[in-house]
């Protein structure tokens, strides 16, 4: 594969999306680069959104429909771009599915097999923050917590902040496990200013961006 695949993982509010965008801007000056977000297939994401609102997804269909969304972006964009030498940045990759599905009690081995078609990223930056820090950031940004960020489908209707801390805590636990298993995982302390985190990432990537083609 001529291209380079870089994934960002972390809980909601970890700052990984901002990091992904900053990285894209930086790489853009040197290479062809493409950024893709989780849950953004143009013909599935609205169905997922609607189903979440109506709470009609079961853990199995939650898992499968996100896999369909991912596969659509994978077959349409990610794979052809990697083959033609792009740097592809994924704001969330298969590990998001691992974490979210396992939290919903879907068999971990089955989820891994489901996503076995996806190539492993060259680098996965796991922006690790505590749920408390993530919550503070969301509050500071004056953004509302979305019900699904508070795990409404598995925890029920808790007060949003309480649900957020509990649900994101469960996700962090799984991420930490995956980080130990996956050799491409680089855990970055995300409890620091945006700029410091970005500089760390650029330092790690520097030579690869220029030399991988």
């Amino acid at each position: 594969m001529k291209g380079l695949l870089i994934a960002f993982e972390g809980i909601d509010g970890s700052g990984k999306s901002s990091q992904a965008v900053l990285l894209k801007d930086w790489i853009e000056m040197r290479r062809d680069v493409y950024l893709t977000e989780w849950n953004s297939s143009d013909w599935i994401h609205d169905i997922i959104k609607e189903a979440k609102k109506k709470n009609t997804l079961t853990p199995t269909t939650f898992s499968l429909i996100h896999a369909t969304d991912f596969s659509d972006r994978y077959e349409r964009f990610i794979l052809p771009m990697l083959k033609s030498g792009f740097v592809v940045i994924c704001d969330r990759y298969i590990y998001t599915a691992y974490a979210r599905d396992v939290v919903r009690n879907v068999d971990f081995n089955w989820v891994k097999k489901l996503y076995s078609f996806a190539i492993k990223p060259n680098f996965t930056f796991y922006i690790r923050v505590t749920p408390e820090v993530a919550l503070e950031r969301i509050k500071k940004a004056k953004r509302k917590i979305k019900p699904q960020e508070a795990g409404i489908d598995i925890l029920g209707e808790l007060p949003l902040e309480e649900g957020f801390l509990k649900y994101q805590g469960m996700v962090v636990e799984i991420y930490d496990k995956i980080a130990k298993e996956e050799s491409n995982f680089i855990t970055i302390d995300g409890n620091r200013p945006l700029k410091d985190v970005q500089m760390d990432i650029r330092k790690i990537l520097g030579e690869y961006i220029d030399n991988s083609l």
């Binding site: 013909w43 369909t68 659509d72 349409r76």
Partner: protein, 208 residues
């Protein structure tokens, strides 16, 4: 344990829908409550798949996963609860049909089996097989013409639609037969009633 699902499997035109309907009537006469479901019939994704299928013809894995999601939604929200309250479920296309679709398009057998292992195994699968000529005739009678985008054009491009269709049917049915148990296969290139009697004989053991 196998779930009380009777799966009618086969390519379009193999007789799935008409024999499913006849079987439903038969079972209802016997006093059973019967529900039907099948490929691309879910509330969640059924309609959307129809809308986008032509645009994602070459995204085989995506389309496959969409079909599985569609089946899983029906199983979890409709079939399982119905079976729990005593119904028999008839599937108009289930895992064997989907597996044949995927294998014909080069998806890996192991991956397909792994993904589909999340769905319940049916009590009985009835792969319906017919001759390509007969199948093509049925499709033309039903639709009025052969739609090249509907079936197989993504894998066998030929000089004309008819030849492409025949080629596709052959490939599909070869795969279906290779993954099905011989004793359950039903050949539908015979009189409808004769075929239906055979189906009834096959399902008697599960319903009794």
């Amino acid at each position: 344990m196998n779930t009380l699902i009777i799966a009618f499997e086969g390519i379009e035109g193999s007789g799935k829908t008409s024999h499913l309907e006849a079987t439903k009537k038969y079972l209802e006469k016997q006093g059973y409550g019967v529900i039907t479901f099948g490929l691309q019939k879910s509330k969640l994704l059924g309609e959307r798949i129809t809308q986008v299928k032509r645009n994602i013809l070459f995204e085989r894995r995506t389309l496959f996963l969409a079909y599985v999601t569609d089946l899983a939604d029906q199983i979890e929200n409709y079939v399982n609860p119905s079976i729990d309250s005593g119904f028999i479920a008839l599937a108009d296309g289930y895992t064997l049909t989907l597996t044949s679709w995927g294998l014909t398009r080069g998806l890996e057998k192991e991956w397909i089996d792994d993904v589909l292992s999340i769905l319940p195994k049916p009590s009985v699968s009835l792969p319906l097989i017919s001759t390509p000529d007969e199948i093509v005739r049925r499709i033309i009678k039903k639709r009025g013409y052969l739609d090249p985008l509907e079936t197989g054009i993504d894998i066998c491009i030929k000089e004309d639609t008819f030849e492409a269709y025949i080629d596709y049917i052959n490939r599909f049915q070869e795969v279906l037969m290779s993954i099905s148990s011989k004793e359950n296969m039903i050949y539908t290139d015979k009189e409808f009633d004769e075929v239906q009697k055979e189906i009834v004989r096959r399902i008697v053991s599960i319903t009794s």
